[in-house]
Amino acid sequence: MQTHHAKRVVITIEAIMQKRLTDTLEGAGVTGYSILPVLGGSGRSGAWSREGQISRASGMVQVVCIIREERLDGLLEAAFEVVDKHIGVVTITDVEVLRAERF
């Protein structure tokens, strides 16, 4: 089937920053994203797990955006602004998408 090049950006970030991030992304013209839950993890600031949390401050989520290549830089800059001082990982992968008319 006919597919189209695009980029898949995954931003792992504290749940409490999610709204700020997606608002910023929308400001930067991103029109679609999905939020995935993260159950736990480990990084420079140690290990954590959602079951051991009592506070909405401590969980993390993944914000996944499928985006045309030409809009990638705008997205990354917007995201970086939010992620900068906060813990979080940003990755970019090449993907093919069906139905590019949707992006």
Binding site: I16, M17, G46, E51, I54, A57
Partner: protein, 325 residues
């Protein structure tokens, strides 16, 4: 003194505290016992709804006395001022960075609603009545401490931290809204309302509190296990000294305002307790460079268990002694 020990023993051997101890032990022993996140949140919604509603219904039954406004103001001032005292004490006892110390200080000005609930249920068990509006005071004390903490940081030169969005989030966080909202529902529907739902919010309350504290024990235990080494002796000393100091400042305020013996005890508890929900959330947004292990371990791993086991009976006994109640 014998009274305090007696009260402490009764408290320590209640199902509520033993459930907390069970959770703590299970987590420290690395059992895989855990309460699902959604269930823990549901339990806390239940507790907030019940405690708020009962407070409101009590106000409807007894009417408002003149001390309401004075107590609200006292709560506000306590919450705003306690962080400064905590900050000073931290600089004496620990070598935390300015940002970390300010973040911790903010937690100790604010309150722990679960500690408040546990204290209420101790008072109830001893048939000591208190002002129903103390839950509203609890709600008022959540936020001011956060502003004081940010002020402590910004005088250290780090610029603006607070935006209106964060302000809104703090003031309208779920716990405050639910507590205040159910307080008003209780106040509006009064005795009729209470009767309609008392077999839901009164009868099973202590049992639900047990399961909730089981989970709190698990969380506190896991926190302690994972952050071993984060706190030195000075920090632990702070985690025990600060609630006692706070409680005595709260005592002073309560006496000035003129609360009932139960109300005095509750204001002491509020002043002594440290937040581990609202304030950590605000700190992750406003002070991301502060280390969450430090403030969470102190508040949840040291001060919360201290208050639950020793603090509450102590504060109740002191308030009884001082007010002769």
């Amino acid at each position: 003194m014998a009274d305090i020990l007696d009260l402490a023993a009764t408290n320590l051997l209640s199902p509520v505290i033993l459930s907390f101890v069970l959770g703590l032990a299970a987590a420290l022993g690395r059992s895989d016992l855990s309460v699902p996140e959604a269930a823990a949140k549901a339990l806390s919604i239940y507790l907030l709804f019940a405690i708020g509603f009962k407070g409101g219904a009590a106000v409807a039954a007894n009417g408002l006395d003149g001390t309401l406004v004075a107590t609200l103001v006292a709560g506000f001032v306590l919450s705003a001022i306690l962080p400064f005292i905590a900050f000073l004490l931290l600089q004496v006892l620990t070598n935390l960075s300015r940002v970390d110390a300010a973040a911790v200080a903010g937690h100790y000005g604010s309150i722990s609603i679960v500690t408040f609930v546990a204290a209420s249920s101790v008072l109830e068990g001893r048939a000591i009545s208190s002002e129903g509006y103390m839950v509203a005071v609890a709600a008022v004390m959540e936020a001011p401490a956060i502003l004081s903490a940010l002020w402590l940081v910004s005088t250290g030169g780090s610029g603006r931290r607070m935006d209106s969005e964060l302000m809104r989030e703090i003031l309208l966080n779920g716990s405050i809204v639910l507590l205040v909202g159910s307080f008003f529902i209780g106040a509006i529907t009064g005795d009729d309302g209470l009767e309609a739902i008392s077999s839901f919010i009164v009868a099973p309350f202590t049992g639900v509190l047990c399961l909730f504290l089981l989970d709190m024990g698990l969380v506190a235990g896991r926190g302690l296990r994972e952050s071993r080494g984060v706190l030195n002796m000075g920090a632990v000393a702070f985690g025990i000294a600060m609630p006692i100091i706070g409680s005595f400042i709260g005592l002073g305020a309560a006496l000035i305002v003129g609360l009932s013996p139960g109300g005095v005890a509750l204001l002491m508890v509020l002043s002594a307790s440290a937040s581990y929900i609202a304030v950590p959330a605000a700190m992750r947004v406003a002070l991301p460079e502060a280390n969450p292990s430090v403030y969470l371990t102190l508040s949840l791993g040291v001060t919360f268990p201290f208050n639950l086991t020793i603090g509450i009976p102590l504060y109740v006994a002191v308030s009884q002694a001082v007010t002769g109640g």
